[in-house]
């Protein structure tokens, strides 16, 4: 069976600087995969390439067995949850969801069905008719996720989904991610929070200077580097001499 995401020798050169240096990895269908790395390690660039927002300089990406260049198919298969909110804050929650669903060509009946499910899942049902700008930070994060999921993608990219959130909201977001995972969606997320990685991801890849310096389950990595905490593993790998 084909992998949900298959990356081979992926590289990106921008302004004569290598941002991503021939990375390769696979994410199986239904897997929750974490992409870790310090700022400037190339994980966001990799994410952008995976979601089709940035053309690679070389290498290949296959999503659900199809090349990333088949953009229309790929766009229907993936949901990209940006780090910053990306919805219309002047519209209500429902208007936002309906709009994005319509842009994916989803019928109004199906839209209402999916919206009901997602609003329940994201615990936004009561805020359905609230203007997005008036939502709390956690609600906005959940709305942002809901907007990315309205077309029911098979692969979901989450770019630092809990950055800047208080612990309560973070937990709320985690619960949503776990719920999505339990639905069988393939999830790839980036994060700086090792507790988040350890709780959510079955497998991780750690990037440094555009390269994957380590990959495996959190447990494997801790064992491999003989460290007790993932944070220590991460810190160890971020050292240039490592």
């Amino acid at each position: 069976m084909a992998s949900a995401v298959e990356v081979k020798e992926l590289a990106k050169v921008m302004n004569e600087r290598i941002i991503v240096d021939r990375i390769s990895f696979k994410v199986e269908e239904g897997e929750l995969f974490g992409l870790l790395g310090s700022n400037g390690s190339g994980k966001t660039t990799t994410f952008n390439m995976l979601s089709g927002l940035l053309p690679p300089s070389s290498g290949s990406i296959r999503i659900m067995g199809r090349d990333i260049k088949e953009s229309d198919f790929i766009r229907m298969q993936i949901g990209f949850v940006t780090q910053a909110d990306s919805f219309y804050d002047t519209l209500t929650v429902a208007e936002n969801l309906r709009y994005f669903a319509s842009q994916f060509g989803i019928s109004s009946g199906e839209t209402e069905k999916r919206m009901k499910k997602l609003l329940g899942q994201m615990r936004l049902a009561e805020k359905k008719d609230s203007v997005a700008a008036r939502l709390s930070g956690g609600m906005k994060k959940r709305l942002n996720m809901a907007c990315s999921l309205m077309h029911d993608p098979k692969v979901v990219f989450l770019d630092e989904p809990t950055v800047g959130l208080d612990p309560v909201v973070r937990r709320e977001v985690w619960e949503v991610i776990e719920a999505l995972h339990s639905e069988g969606k393939t999830i790839i997320l980036t994060s700086h929070y090792m507790d988040e990685i350890e709780r959510l991801c079955g497998r991780v890849a750690i990037m440094f200077s555009g390269r994957i310096v380590a990959s495996g389950t959190p447990h494997e990595l801790k064992e491999r580097f003989e460290l007790k905490q993932m944070e220590d593993v991460f810190a160890y790998l971020m050292k240039p001499e490592s």
């Binding site: 921008m14 952008n48 979601s51 089709g52 927002l53 940035l54 053309p55 953009s71 229309d72 766009r75 229907m76 993936i78 949901g79 990209f80 940006t82 910053a84 909110d85 990306s86 919805f87 219309y88 804050d89 002047t90 519209l91 209500t92 208007e95 709009y99 994005f100 319509s102 842009q103 994916f104 060509g105 203007v131 907007c147 990315s148």
Partner: protein, 656 residues
């Protein structure tokens, strides 16, 4: 139909954004109110103007009255130019009129005079307006002065014309007199011609000859009468003899007839008696026959009776013949009696004719006539001599009259020339004085025919107001809207959707079209209700023009939005593009007042075409096809550029 949901989203966004909504509604209303109330009239009114120099002379008063009457200026008198200049520098005066000291004298001499105007040229439009208004007044005053001169000249020419008319009348009298003399001479000549004395002489000669001939004829007639008289005498005698003989013969015939008639009457009586006897005899025989039985006797009797009867019939026939003859004789007798009566009449007539045909009277008359003819012939000879003398005299008179006629013709020709001269002079004077002094003073005038109905000046501002409103709303809203897509990261989400960016752009353009239509509706309602402007004649063309205009302007705004990183950068870029368009977009300055190269530049700017479309739709009522085609060309080019941008900017790095 994803672009429709994008359009709906845009409209929802604006409807939820109260500030944006307010701007969308308030901006056009404000522009309309501001422009409408500020530019109800573009005429200058009560502009403070200083006047220096003589102001009480007739010509200067005329000039100043004209300036005062124009109501454009508020004239303030100054004693010196320096005082006026001080106020001018302080901004209390906008211009100074300096009337030269010798203004009146120079004009009275018929020379022109120059009025100096110091004008505030720091304001170009004001300078032009002041100059235009003052030029109009000075021109009108110059015309008044010229009119005064021309009116005086016309009076003098009128007097000259009257003198010429009097001379013409006198000349006419002389001509009539001469023509009468000529006519009299012609009448005399005609009478003389009609007298035809030569013919008279000829006629007299002819008459003399005829008289001689007549005399001969009379002699012949005399002879003939004498001969006829002799023949008549002979004829009368023969006729008389014949009548007497005939009368005798007739008398004899009558006697014979009467005798024969008596004989026949006697014979008839005898025959009647015989017939009666025969009848008696027949009856006697028949009686006898009846009494006898003997057949032989009876037969003998029958034979006798038959014989007697036959005899009697023969007798009766003879009687009838005798009666006829008697009647014939009676007729002949009557005829002969009539003939004898006629002969007697003829005899009477002949006797009278004999008496009448007496020729002695005729001969005496012929002799008398012959004497008269001799006397007449003598008179004719005398008359012929008199006529010949008269003819010679008349020939002399005719020659003199021909000379007089020639002289009169020459005189008449001369009067005709003088007449033509007077007529020409009068025509010239009439032609000249018929000219209106006003027209001579200002021969050229302009008749302005307003081609387009204007209820107020705001009518003519509407295209500019709409163009400005569309320019700013389409530019600013579409560019800011796109910048917001970037700052809110929704553009990234759009990039994740199949055709998401294209639908987003399309939705924004369509929403700008809808909003532009709404804006124009607001502007029109405000203008109609508050300023009473004319409603647009062609709503559909107005809508079409709005659609095309907002297509182009919002496309430009979206292009700006693609490259601007922040809303303020978008606003600044919009202003950078909008301000030159405002100056060159037929908003502030008329394109016809701009230099050629600027006019070309203007044609390249879409706003000029936007303004033109609304000008055509709202004012001129023409066909804005050229401008619509120009804008559609713009849109096609912009669409190509936008498509290029969408393809080239698919990279997320362009939006982060």
């Amino acid at each position: 139909m994803k672009f429709l949901s994008a359009l709906w989203k845009e409209l929802l966004e604006i409807s939820h954004d109260r500030t944006m909504l307010l701007v969308l509604i308030v901006f056009p209303v404000f522009i309309m109110l501001f422009m409408g109330s500020s530019f109800r009239s573009m005429e200058i009114n009560g502009l403070p103007i200083g006047v220096v120099g003589p102001q009480n002379t007739s010509f200067s008063a005329m000039l100043l009255k004209g300036l005062n009457d124009s109501k454009a200026f508020n004239l303030q008198s100054y004693q010196s130019e320096s005082d006026a200049m001080a106020d001018f520098k302080n901004g209390q005066l906008k211009a100074i009129i300096v009337i030269p000291q010798d203004f009146e004298a120079t004009l009275n001499r018929g020379n022109g005079s120059r009025i100096r105007i110091e004008v505030d040229n720091s304001d170009l439009a004001l300078e032009q307006s002041v100059l235009a208004a003052m030029s109009a007044v000075v021109q009108a005053s110059s015309a008044d002065i010229t009119k005064a001169y021309v009116s005086g000249a016309w009076d003098e020419l009128g007097a000259l014309n009257r003198s010429a008319s009097k001379l013409g009348a006198e000349l006419e009298d002389s001509r009539k007199q001469m023509q009468k003399t000529k006519s009299d001479l012609q009448t005399i000549k005609k009478n003389m011609d009609e007298s035809n004395l030569s013919a008279l002489v000829g006629a007299l000669d002819g008459s003399s000859q005829k008289l001689s001939s007549l005399q001969g004829s009379l002699e012949v007639q005399r002879q003939m009468i004498q001969n006829a008289s002799a023949k008549n005498e002979q004829l009368f005698n023969d006729t008389d003899s014949f009548l007497q003989n005939a009368s005798f013969a007739v008398d004899q015939s009558i006697a014979t007839i009467q005798s024969t008639h008596g004989t026949l009457v006697g014979q008839t009586a005898e025959l009647n008696h015989t017939a009666d006897n025969l009848a008696l005899s027949i009856n006697g025989l028949k009686t006898i026959k009846g009494s006898v039985n003997d057949s032989l006797v009876i037969a003998a009797l029958d034979l006798n009776i038959m014989s007697l009867d036959s005899l009697r019939n023969s007798t009766l026939m003879q009687i009838a013949d005798a009666k006829n003859q008697t009647a014939e004789l009676e007729k002949l007798n009557a005829t002969l009696h009539g003939f004898r009566s006629s002969l007697q009449n003829y005899s009477g007539i002949l006797a009278k004719a004999k008496t009448d045909s007496d020729s002695s009277g005729s001969l005496a008359a012929i002799d008398k006539a012959s004497v008269q003819l001799i006397l007449m012939n003598s008179s004719l000879g005398s008359a012929r001599e008199d006529v010949s003398r008269l003819k010679a005299t008349m020939d002399d008179v005719r020659g003199s009259m021909t000379d007089i006629e020639g002289t009169l013709d020459q005189a008449l020709n001369q009067t005709s020339s003088v007449d033509d001269l007077i007529s020409s002079l009068q025509d010239t004077v009439e032609e000249q004085t018929a000219k209106d002094p006003d027209m001579i003073a200002s021969p050229l005038s302009i008749e302005l025919q307003d081609q387009y109905v204007r209820t107020s000046y705001v009518d003519f501002l509407m295209p500019q107001v709409i163009a400005i409103s569309l320019l700013f709303s389409c530019f600013l809203l579409s560019s800011i809207s796109l910048v917001r897509e970037k700052t809110r990261n929704t553009i990234i989400r759009a990039m994740m959707i199949p055709y998401g960016l294209a639908n987003m752009v399309l939705g924004k353009v369509l929403s700008m079209i809808v909003l532009s239509i709404g804006q124009i509706a607001i502007i029109l309602v405000v203008a109609l209700l508050l300023f009473g402007v004319r409603p647009p004649s062609d709503i559909w063309m107005l809508l079409f023009g709005t659609v095309v205009s907002s297509l182009v302007l919002s496309s430009i705004g979206i292009l700006i939005g693609f490259y601007a990183r922040t809303e303020s950068a978008a606003i600044q870029t919009c202003l950078l593009i909008a301000i030159p368009m405002l100056f060159l977009g037929n908003i502030i300055f008329s394109p016809d007042l701009l230099p050629n190269y600027t006019q070309i530049l203007q044609q390249l700017l879409p706003l000029a075409h936007v303004t033109n479309i609304f000008k055509v739709v709202l004012i001129t009522g023409g066909n804005p096809l050229v401008d619509i085609v120009a804008l559609l060309t713009y849109f096609v080019l912009l669409a190509i550029v936008l498509a290029y941008v969408l393809i080239k900017r698919r990279d997320i790095t362009n939006y982060q």
